[in-house]
Symmetry: none
Subunit: 248 residues, 2 copies
Amino acid sequence: MARKSLAGGSVSKRLFVVLVAARNPLNIGAAARAMSNFGFVNLRVVNPYELAFREARSAVGASALLKYAKEYKSVADAVADCSLVVGTTAAHKRKLDHELRPLHEGALAIRKKLQSETVALLFGSEKRGLSNEDLSYCHWLMRIPTVRERPSMNLGQAVAVCLHELVREANGSLQAEKHPAARAAELDRLTAMLLDALRASGYVKPTIAGPTEEKIRRLVRRLSLSAEDARVSLGMLRQILWKMQSKD
Amino acid sequence: MARKSLAGGSVSKRLFVVLVAARNPLNIGAAARAMSNFGFVNLRVVNPYELAFREARSAVGASALLKYAKEYKSVADAVADCSLVVGTTAAHKRKLDHELRPLHEGALAIRKKLQSETVALLFGSEKRGLSNEDLSYCHWLMRIPTVRERPSMNLGQAVAVCLHELVREANGSLQAEKHPAARAAELDRLTAMLLDALRASGYVKPTIAGPTEEKIRRLVRRLSLSAEDARVSLGMLRQILWKMQSKD
């Protein structure tokens, strides 16, 4: 499965999600949950609010991912082994020295990098985001396209949105479970049966049958019926027609 | 700004986020927060766990969006004025009668629809997701591409990821569809009339009415009927039903 090729295997292991100075244990837990939902395994925390981190780690049902998250004293240490360091921000107006890429562009660049190298993705604290010092370790920044008036996202949600974007098109082979469409001959049978029922009911008058027939044929084609639904509909109509005719 | 063209203005107002039987006030609040981050305003809740909903609404800093969220007793009521109803699911293996679209495909279809019509996006409860009955009101389902081993997302994160996907590449180039689609209430009427006809014909036996009703409801949703075609179909069925009953 293509899904595996990014999120499973070595590629997804090359991404390090780095939470800097996170304060709320629920958010740390939520970040970890989103990581496992999207197939990432490496969580690093920098100077977490101690109590919060201990709580999140010891929570019932805390994932292995969270239990084995690595703790660092500084951003520098946490990203030391990474080839690319990307900061996330809600900044709209702030003057930044960094290149600021919209999420979908940034994610594309990260995906490419992950093919062969390690990448750190930094998230700041709930209140303040990443500090200027934190940002100074980043190659560039990535912004989730929130509205100007409400830019600041919940930490767990921001992590979920970014990670989803990273795996978003990795699974091109994941198919919609579409049902095979009805063939023209099946639609013809259904149209004929429907016309019979409409004639039997008096809906279609013999005098105006021609144009009505065309209308009905077009209507049946617009329904985008699957083969199975066409079969079921035909069965319904057959029973209805039988009922109407059995009483004449 | 392109951003505004989708999430601002009337387009984003046409989306209704519907939380069905949500239990955790934090999740309801998180859903509301993600909505305001991405510029959506209409939240509807169906049978929320009462206490949770009251708590979420009265929380310090609860948004206007949350305070004015509308409450409904049933999914049918909550989506009655919507032209397209989409359910979200974590399903990987489950047998579903619905077409299941990956998030990025589904979001594209929703964006198109939102150019001119109303869309309901349903999220199920934290524990069980959407029930089969809930799903029977949906035209199709959308799946967030989580990994097979950890499919189940946190509710607030699922909402954030879906809404982000909806505004992701907002560019006004998407065209309005020509024929306005039938609204859910119209499909309900059509479903009811069809069921009456099937009962009158003997196709539906009273003993197995329940599951059949769900099947029929789903079938009608799969037809992607325009408002005009729904109206015509209703007229046909009315005449057919009249014919069958006039002879009893």
